[in-house]
Assembly symmetry: D2
Homo-oligomer: 427 residues x 4
């Protein structure tokens, strides 16, 4: 444990009486609605969201990056930071790696994670940047590049990610590419997509039987006129073309303005192709803001679809959950803790929806009572449920308070050298 | 002919010398680029876009409708107006009917159209409004309604449209519905879509072998939280579920802000599911503005995809073209004439693209020259080509001038009674 | 009272014990945060939002309107419906009239309202529709029309609204126009705005000293290329040009996609020009959905600005509050009751923000704790506070349940004749 | 001259005959419209747009930057690249510097520019990045930072920019800041804007009498929940608060989706506060794509406003013009040349608008002919005018062809060392 357990215990002690009282009175109210608070708590306690290794470093924009103190130097530092999040929230048992950023000896990775009580989630490949010494550039694309050699290089990088993943116990590969175009006419949409599909099939062919392949769509950025996998429609085509182990990944910030994301989620579930999520929030584009920080009701509505599918046992429904955010002005550990709890919060709220009443209102077109049924669940303050689940799982009632009290950031800042500000892409 | 041909001839006479001169000098310039102006003209001359019967009436908004003078009273007036458009532009040989708005004896419809030199395009059903005496309301949906009887009524209306279409020589049915929801929770997305698919299959089952079924997606309006066929992804699922006679219709104004529409067109062509277009333009939403009036380059980029598919003979490529606009502040006949010419203009410009040079620039990632290749075609003023095609086909060099000179609107205004202003949906 | 008070009392009786218990335990929790629940309740109890007379009729879109049962026939029916909302929620003491829709003898209006315990809020003029017998059409604009006579007619209509308002005790005039253009070039932006300013000044010149003039901006619809008062920037220019009695009205649905509305509110407060609100919610455009139904956190963030201004006693801060929604698929009375309560909910949540802690976090750039401070207030379930305020004010603990139990809609449906479905503006 | 003039002459020679012929036949057609081609050419020839020093380096995104060959190492290399653009296009006589990126001895700067035939445009300050050794960080803001010392540092940096500008002959300062917030509640909008205004006033106070201050608004990025100068409304407030030397700068990519930018331009002209432009194009956000590459008609509509103001001699109308783009996949010199010509093209097209006819159509609400008047001008292929102006001014008929033929990039690549790919802000 990276943080002294007695410190956490001490922090919890000051909050336990109030929590018990709040849990009890909330339980009483839920009881009146016919809901068992303990059953909700049990589900929440069993619910985890993966943390991305790169999320524990301070993010940036094309204009600038302003590093914080005690930035992790490498994947082993990152794993330690991730373990703090898991220790205090008990909501993030797994870490998702990004290759080549996190490249290291698989045995060492596994040993380190294991010692910290962490597992590994999906592997993420990177063909949107050039690495030192890389023979062919991705400036004009990777899996969909006009040059066959560049496509092959990108395919092989993905195969390497699978190999590393196999060695450390991962079971999924996530592909997100920056391919697209910045000018009308720069790329032929059709031939570009054909090339993409060919390359994706080459990766899929090497996917182990018990793995899943997640492809991720994004409307724009880094390409600013068109992207190859621009929306869920194209993403769905890909999953269909590749086969039954191929699924669509939904990043909440990768859609057009005003898009009804919960509906996209419903469609993918209905057709058996929802692979999972990259959670974050956005106001303008792929802002990568903290999950639930801008539009918490939208997050709830997504979880309303997930709990609906879970309840009716939708065939093949088993989405992967991961946070994917850029922490530019906060301590990344704090943001990831709060975000993991926001995911649990939305899940708990969605579990509170009276689904049989909802179905009745839907069938009779009682729109007002249908939406009120959702709102009633959403506005229930489920914090006592989340906190009690954490407490009972060995976490902190108030993870941010415990983290600050422990002085973790200051401690690692003494070990990890200061990083100077790095300019963004514009210079 | 609704307009005196000698009047048109007289109008043309005053413009012919200049046109010939401009056609000649443009031909000279195109020749230098290796393009035969006559070949382009021949293609343009053979290119038509259907006119919607409802387009010749003044449109409105939910706030108000401000009728013009001489509004058509019924489908026979509308056909006369449509024939004026065709007479002067020679670009709109077919009319698309909307049932029940245009319901009439099929034999009379056919005779009238035939006498005016018009044919019939796709049939359009209407289950987004309640008609007088209609047993069940579409307030809460039609093909996806929770009530089986209402769905059946909507299916049967579509079957009736097919019957009428068969009688008048149509070969396609276009379905656009207003179904959706205004509140989160009002509808269960999954069950609603299941119901839609069932109903659509019931219609498809009765589709004649030589017909096509077009389904149309729309992001919002009249439903304002969700729509059943919200985007091309769902539309594509429908076409796949229904079968090989089912295709996706693209209305240029039905997308999310910033959507890359030309790319959606390319994807649907690639997967053999592009059914056709409802042309118009938009700045904010489904504004139904005149085609090419706000973003003419976007229209060109759509046609760039169409000509690309035509050139490489994409399998099954045979899209239907129709205008679908709301003329709130102009004479609808004038707007439809100008819009039909804008469609031809975009087509002519797209034909000018040097596709072999473009392919070379694409293959070598010469983005600047690739986009310049498109721009060079786009900025060519092809008006002499369009005008010469009209002249040689018996139309007007300047259709708007000829129309105004003929005083058609004033003449029908004497016959057709004045319509008083109708309030929109808000009161 | 339109609804039998004993029925309301009976409904309340079944819910009082639970409410007291919930109020008590919430009070306990707030006490721990240093907040007095009674003080919050008192503020909520004193907080009202005006109801628009037109809101009690079923709304529609340009495609269709689907009337409900028992639609109000005239302003006196509308006032009765409004009084039901006030009786059950105690949150809507005033009604806002729209002229000429609500034109009637002022003395009768006043007497009727008074007998129902209602007052009158801002007057709304209508120059976006043509009325029967109106000499000059607003098809091409009203206050900014190119024709001086039409502008004068529009000015005079507004002056008439002021006269009516004076007679019934209103103190404000709200101007929203549909003026704009549908085509690039249709209007000269500059001259059009000059004409608008001249006309607005002519109205302002006749405004009584104790009145306020509210102008409302809107990005688009019914004009679809440009609108004269397109955003808050132009609205602010107008308020500056007119004088100190002129203020900007903010309708939550009238902005560009992704706009940060709470920030616009803050800017207008800071420069002393926030006149008030038209509350509703939107997902795509001016959807006129029920307040708080799509993005309740955004509504809270707006109220966070209002409470901030209230707390620091911002000079001249005194915004008017009104609901402005279109109820297409619900009983309008139910939607307005729920929406009025959503406004109160947002206000109550905003009152719970620990403003001194927030200021501290802001000053030290502790973004995470600052936003958590807002979230903590937002996720507090304040329903017991709202319900207790209603109960103590003579309203219903659960207004929708009481309303349904009273069978009001069925009763008026027996008196008020059925209205047949009216087509929207497209036909 | 960086490129051998005989090479340019040779390139031109092969194109001169065709150009003369095209210029002649276009002149003939314009003559028929009552337009003198030579008068248009003269205006175009006198029309310049500034080039940003940073534009000649390859841009990037937060994901990656893929440098090209022969990247400029410092401001003196950049000035040489800029001079190539000017030599071939004769459209970019001035360069705009960014401090501290371009910091150098003013005398050397001036001498170098002078030797290359270049002048200096507006100075740009940078308080959105931290520089090595900078005492206080801009992580949480600059001119609006909560810390007075940080604000002072930012003010002083701007004053230094003025000093440098005075030394090299600049006459304007452009301020764009990244200040804002990423979380609701992170910043108090009102106090943040008060701080901004105070700091801006401190800069304004030191502005030389013959200088102008340009402030630039931007909806989002790098701040993703709110920005201090989020739109033109706030920008206008700033210009009003500061005084008569303060003006608003409009960057075409800094607006909300669907915003009518030409209307914003008209409003700022009308109220005497349009300072100038940063030209580029965008499809999704601040994409910084090449000017006119995505929506050339929008660019034309902006110039339609500028020519309208020029024609009617709007008081105080004297906007500054600059390109501001990010060239991620093209040779920056080529992109800047093409973009400068696109600016000239839009200007030439706008000059062709028959303004007296337009005014007539506007006054009579003939929307169709009004918009056709604009379209007729827009679709005129003015390339012969631009090319002739270049030729007569000593530039190249086809600047891209001449540039490629000269092999400039290969030559500088031999001198300037290869730059390795730099990761973006996310790592």
């Amino acid at each position: 444990m990276m943080i002294d357990t007695s410190l956490v215990a001490g922090e919890n002690e000051t909050r336990t009486a109030d929590l018990k009282r709040d849990y009890e009175t909330l339980g009483e109210r839920l009881d009146r609605r016919g809901v068992s608070i303990d059953a909700i708590k049990a589900k929440v306690a069993a619910y985890g969201v993966a943390v991305p290794s790169w999320g524990v470093g301070t993010g940036g924009t094309r204009f600038a990056r302003f590093p914080g103190k005690g930035e992790p130097r490498h994947i082993f530092d990152k794993l330690e930071d991730c373990s703090v999040i898991q220790q205090l929230t008990r909501a993030t048992p797994n870490v998702s790696l990004h290759i080549p950023w996190d490249k290291a000896d698989p045995a060492e990775l596994k040993a380190k994670a294991s010692s910290l009580g962490l597992g590994f989630d999906a592997m993420n490949s990177n063909t949107f940047q050039d690495q030192d010494g890389q023979p062919l550039s991705y400036k004009f694309g990777s899996l969909s590049h006009t040059d066959a050699g560049t496509r092959r290089q990108a395919v092989e990088h993905n195969l390497e990610c699978i190999e590393i993943g196999k060695a450390i116990g991962s079971r999924a590969l996530t592909i997100w590419i920056g391919d697209g175009s910045n000018f009308p006419g720069q790329a032929n949409f059709t031939r570009q997509f054909e090339r993409y599909l060919d390359a994706a099939k080459a990766i899929y062919a090497e996917l182990p039987d018990d793995w899943r392949l997640f492809t991720e769509h994004k409307m724009y950025e880094p390409a600013f006129y068109s992207t190859v996998v621009q929306d869920w429609g194209t993403n769905y085509m890909i999953a269909q073309e590749l086969g039954e182990k191929a699924y669509c990944l939904v990043d909440l910030g990768h859609h057009a303005p005003n898009a009804n994301i919960e509906m996209i989620v419903a469609r993918l579930i209905q057709f058996g192709k929802l692979g999972g999520f990259h959670f974050n929030d956005s106001k303008y584009g792929d802002d990568d803001l903290d999950t639930g920080s801008v539009d918490p009701y939208r997050l709830f509505l997504v979880f309303n679809e997930l709990v609906d599918a879970e309840t009716r046992k939708a065939p093949g429904f088993d989405p992967a959950h991961m946070l994917d955010q850029s922490h530019n002005v906060t301590d990344p550990i704090e943001s990831l803790m709060v975000s993991a709890m926001e995911v649990q919060r939305a899940y708990a709220q969605a579990l509170l929806v009276d689904r049989s009443a909802l179905e009745g209102f839907q069938d009779t077109n009682d729109a007002l009572m249908a939406t009120t049924t959702l709102k009633t669940a959403f506005r229930t303050d489920v914090e006592p449920i989340l906190a009690m689940a954490r407490l009972e799982n060995g976490g902190a009632i108030d993870p941010v308070a415990a983290y600050r009290s422990a002085g973790y950031r200051q401690k690692v800042a003494e070990i990890r050298p200061e990083v100077s500000g790095a300019g963004g892409g514009i210079v």
